[in-house]
C-alpha cells in the first residue's frame, strides 16, 4: 500500500477536488508551477508502474503538445504555458487518483460524504458498467466486420462524410439496445435482493484519523490560497 492509499478516501477526494479547482482558479505562472510540482509529487508518491499508465500518459502527452502548439499559433505564449501547466498538473493528479483508488471504496466514500444510497451505488455500478460496455462494443465491432463492414468508407466523397452518423449506426444501435435491455435485468436483480427497500447497512467502514483531518484542512487552505492569488495577482 502506498502512502497515498493510507489516507481516508474522503480526504483524498477532498484534496483532489480542491487541487483541480485551484488549478482552474489561478492564472499566475509561478502559482501554477507550484501546483504542478505538488501534482507531480503526488504522482511520484503513487508509485505507479509505467506499463500500467503508459497508454493514458502518452495520450495525455500528445494532447498537451497539440493544445500548446495551437495556443502558440492562435493565442499567446503566456496562454500556451498556462494551459500546458494546467493540463499536465491535472493529468498527474488524476492519474494518481484514479489508479490508486480502490473501486470498492467508491460507493461508501460518496455515501459518507452525504450523498444518498442510490447515487452512491450508481457510482459503484458505473465502475462495473464501463468495462462491460467496452466489451459489448468490441463484440459488436467484430460482428459487423464479419458482415463486411469497414469503418473506413470506400467512398470518400463529401456526401459520405456527411452521413457519418449513419455509418456508425451498425456499431452504436446494438450496444445501446443491449444496454437498455440489460438495465431491466440488472434492476430486477437488485430489486430481488431488496435494494432500496429501507435503510441499508454499508458493510465497508471508513475512519478519519488525524492525518486525514490535516489533509482536508490543507486542501481547503490550498484552495483559499489559490483564490487569494487570483484576486491579488490576477
Amino acid at each position: 500500500m502506498t502512502y497515498i492509499q493510507r489516507f481516508d478516501p474522503r480526504a483524498r477526494v477532498t484534496f483532489y477536488v480542491c487541487l483541480t479547482t485551484a488549478l482552474l482558479v489561478v492564472n499566475d505562472l509561478r502559482a501554477l508551477a507550484i501546483l504542478l510540482a505538488l501534482s507531480a509529487a503526488v504522482l511520484l508518491m503513487a508509485r505507479l508502474a509505467w506499463a500500467r499508465i503508459r497508454h493514458v500518459a502518452l495520450g495525455v502527452l500528445i494532447f498537451i503538445v497539440v493544445i500548446t502548439a495551437l495556443n502558440m499559433l492562435f493565442r499567446s505564449p503566456l496562454e500556451a504555458a498556462q494551459q500546458a501547466i494546467r493540463a499536465a498538473a491535472m493529468a498527474s493528479a488524476s492519474l494518481a487518483m484514479v489508479f490508486t483508488f480502490d473501486p470498492a471504496d467508491l460507493g461508501i466514500t460518496f455515501r459518507r460524504m452525504g450523498f444518498p444510497d442510490r447515487f452512491a451505488f450508481a457510482l459503484d455500478l458505473t465502475v462495473r458498467f464501463v468495462p462491460m460496455l467496452m466489451r459489448d462494443f468490441r463484440i459488436t465491432m467484430d460482428a459487423q466486420r464479419s458482415r463486411g463492414y469497414e469503418l473506413e468508407p470506400r467512398d470518400r466523397s463529401l456526401r459520405s462524410v456527411l452521413t457519418v452518423g449513419r455509418r456508425f449506426a451498425p456499431l452504436i444501435v446494438p450496444v445501446v439496445v443491449r444496454t437498455v435491455l440489460e438495465a431491466e435485468d440488472r434492476a430486477n436483480a437488485m430489486d430481488l435482493r431488496a435494494f432500496g427497500t429501507g435503510r441499508r447497512t454499508w458493510l465497508r467502514t471508513l475512519r478519519m484519523r488525524p492525518p486525514d483531518y490535516v489533509l482536508v484542512a490543507a486542501s481547503f487552505a490550498l484552495l483559499a490560497g489559490a483564490v487569494a492569488v487570483r484576486f491579488t495577482l490576477g
Binding site: T140, G148, E150, R186, T197
Partner: protein, 511 residues
C-alpha cells in the same frame, strides 16, 4: 427429512401483462416441495419466466399494471401482501446471466449486498457471507474482483448472494444458459446439495437433457401458459416421447456424409496469445475445413474455439503459422475480402441487429460486398428461405421478433453474403431444444446451404446428431478430430476436456 414446511404452492395463478390481450399464465396450480428439486420445462413463450416472476414477486411489484389472479403461497403463508424486501428473505432468485446480477466490484461485497439492503448489523452480515461462501465452496474467491471470475465462478457468487438472505426456497431461472458442460455439471451438483439440505429448489430450464442430470424429483411442463405435465421427473421423458410420437414432427436429418471435398479453410500451425495473457490461446493448431464438412467444434470455455474462428475471418491474425482462406494466404487479404469465403454468425443476435427493417438488416452484408440491388434482393429471399423466415414482411422491425427468430435473422444476414464456410457460434444458445433442432434441421437440409459448416457448441448431443466431424480443443490445442461417434465416446480425450463421454446409441432427443 423435512424440518420446516417450505412448500411453494400456486393456486389458480393467471396473469395478463399490461397492454396485452392474452394471458401469459392460465390458472396454474402446482406445488413445489421442500427438499426437492422441481424442474419446470417448456418452450420459449410457454409462460415459464412469467411464472418465475409471480413466485419471486417481480410481478406485481416491478411489472405493474397487469392483471394478476390467484395467489402464491409459501407453506401456510400467502405471499400476496408481502413487500419485495420480505419476499427476498423467503425466496432467493438466480437469473440467467450472472454478469447482469453482480453488483459489486469485489466478491465479498457482492454476497453481502442483499443483507446490507436489509439493514442487518455488520457482524451478522459478515457471518452470513462466510456461511454462504462455505456452502458453495468459494471462500477462496471472497477477496477477488468480480470481473476476474469465470462464468461458472460468477454464478456461484450469485447463488451465494441469494443464500446470504437465508431464503427457504431458491428459484433458478435458466441457470445453465451461460455455462460450459463442466461448469454446468458443477452447478447441478450444487443445486442437488442445496435441495438435500432442505431448500425448496425450483429450476426453470430448457436445456432439458442436462437439467435431468440434477435428478429432480418433480417435473412440470408448461405450454401456452398452462400446465400440461405435472408428475415425477422420471416420467417426463416418457411423456415427452409419447407426445412427440402423437405428432408426425420428428424429421431429424441424418448428418450428411463427408466426401473429402476441396479444402476451403486451413489453419497451418497457428499460434496466438492475447497481449498480457499468461497462456497462449492457440498453440500450434492445424486444421482443414473441407467442402461437405459439418464440424462441431467443442471444448471447455477458454480452450481457444472462438479465437480460432475469429482468426478464420481475420478479426485477429496469427502470431505464427498461416491461415489459408479459399487457398489464399489470409495475411494478404482484408476482413472484407475474407468474409466472401467465410461467414461468421455471432452467438448473441443483440450484437448484430441494428436496422429499422428486416430488409435493411439483411441487405447490410451484401451491400458491404458492393453487390447491386437486384442481386441483393435475390440473395435475401434465398437466405430467408433457408432459415424458414420467408413468410415475414421485409418492412418488419427485427427488434419486434422473438429471440429465436432474431437468431434466424442473424444467420440469414450472413447467408445473404453466400459464404462457402459458415461458422455458427453457439447456434442453440438461448433456444429450447425443439427450436434449436428445428433450426439446424432446416439449415442442414437446405440445398443452397454453404459448402461447409462449423458449429462452436457446448451441446454434445447436438454435435452427435448434426455433425459429421467433431473437433475437440483443450487449452489451445486440438486434441481430437474425427467422426462424432469416435470422438464423443472416447473416454480419455473427453475427460481431458472435463466432459462426460457420450456413449451408446442416441436414443433420447426429447423435444
Amino acid at each position: 427429512m423435512r424440518a420446516v414446511n417450505s412448500d411453494i404452492q400456486t393456486i389458480d395463478l393467471s396473469y395478463i401483462y399490461a397492454g396485452r390481450d392474452t394471458s401469459a399464465l392460465r390458472q396454474v396450480s402446482l406445488t413445489c416441495r421442500a427438499s426437492e428439486i422441481t424442474l419446470i420445462v417448456g418452450r420459449s413463450g410457454s409462460g415459464k419466466t412469467t411464472l418465475a416472476r409471480c413466485i419471486n414477486g417481480l410481478i406485481p411489484h416491478t411489472y405493474k399494471g397487469g392483471t394478476l389472479r390467484g395467489e402464491v403461497r409459501l407453506a401456510d403463508e400467502s405471499l400476496k401482501h408481502l413487500s419485495l424486501a420480505q419476499l427476498a428473505r423467503r425466496i432467493g432468485t438466480v437469473m440467467q446471466d450472472p454478469d447482469r446480477q453482480i453488483v459489486a466490484t469485489r466478491v465479498f461485497y457482492d454476497i453481502a449486498f442483499g443483507p446490507e439492503n436489509l439493514g442487518l448489523p455488520r457482524d451478522e452480515i459478515r457471518a452470513r457471507v462466510h456461511e454462504a461462501a462455505e456452502q458453495l465452496h468459494i471462500t477462496h474467491l471472497l477477496d477477488r474482483d468480480t470481473h476476474t471470475l469465470s462464468g461458472g465462478e460468477l454464478q456461484k457468487v450469485v447463488i451465494a448472494g441469494a443464500l446470504a438472505m437465508r431464503p427457504r426456497a431458491l428459484l433458478l431461472d435458466e441457470p445453465l444458459a451461460s455455462l460450459d458442460p463442466p461448469s454446468a455439471r458443477d452447478a447441478l451438483a450444487v443445486f442437488r446439495r442445496l435441495a438435500d439440505s432442505g431448500l425448496t429448489v425450483i429450476m426453470i430450464e430448457h436445456r432439458l437433457r442436462e437439467a435431468l442430470g440434477v435428478r429432480p424429483e418433480h417435473a412440470i411442463a408448461l405450454n401456452g401458459g398452462e400446465v400440461t405435465f405435472d408428475g415425477a421427473a422420471a416420467d417426463l421423458l416418457a411423456w415427452l416421447d409419447a407426445k412427440r410420437n402423437g405428432h408426425s414432427g420428428n424429421r431429424a436429418v441424418s448428418p450428411p456424409r463427408r466426401d473429402g471435398g476441396d479444402v476451403l479453410l486451413a489453419f497451418r500451425n497457428v499460434t496466438f496469445a492475447y497481449p498480457g495473457a499468461r497462456q497462449a490461446q492457440l498453440r500450434g493448431v492445424s486444421l482443414d475445413v473441407r467442402a461437405g464438412d459439418v464440424i462441431a467444434l467443442i471444448g471447455p470455455n477458454g480452450a481457444g474455439k472462438s479465437t480460432l474462428c475469429k482468426m478464420a475471418i481475420g478479426l485477429i491474425r496469427p502470431q505464427a503459422g498461416r491461415v489459408l482462406v479459399g487457398g489464399q494466404d489470409a495475411g494478404r487479404t482484408t476482413t472484407a475480402q475474407r468474409v466472401r469465403t467465410v461467414g461468421y454468425v455471432f452467438q448473441n443476435p443483440a450484437a448484430m441487429l441494428f436496422a429499422n427493417t428486416l430488409g435493411e438488416e439483411l441487405a447490410f452484408g451484401p451491400r458491404n460486398l458492393g453487390l447491386a440491388d437486384a442481386q441483393i434482393a435475390a440473395r435475401i429471399g434465398q437466405a430467408l428461405a433457408i432459415v424458414g423466415l420467408d413468410h415475414l414482411p421485409l418492412d418488419q422491425s427485427p427488434f419486434s421478433l422473438s429471440f429465436g427468430q432474431q437468431k434466424r435473422v442473424t444467420i440469414a444476414s450472413v447467408l445473404a453474403m453466400q459464404p462457402r464456410v459458415l461458422i455458427l457460434d453457439e447456434p442453440t444458445a438461448g433456444l429450447d431444444d425443439g427450436t434449436a433442432e428445428e433450426l439446424l434441421d432446416q439449415l442442414l437440409s437446405a440445398t443452397a446451404r454453404p459448402e461447409a459448416i462449423v458449429m462452436v457448441t457446448h451441446d454434445l448431443m447436438l454435435a452427435r446428431r448434426f455433425a459429421n466431424r467433431v473437433v475437440l480443443m483443450v487449452a489451445g490445442q486440438v486434441i481430437a478430430d474425427g467422426a462424432p461417434d469416435d470422438v464423443l465416446a472416447d473416454a480419455e480425450v473427453m475427460k481431458q476436456a472435463g466432459f462426460d463421454p457420450l456413449a451408446g446409441p442416441d436414443t433420447t432427443h426429447p423435444r
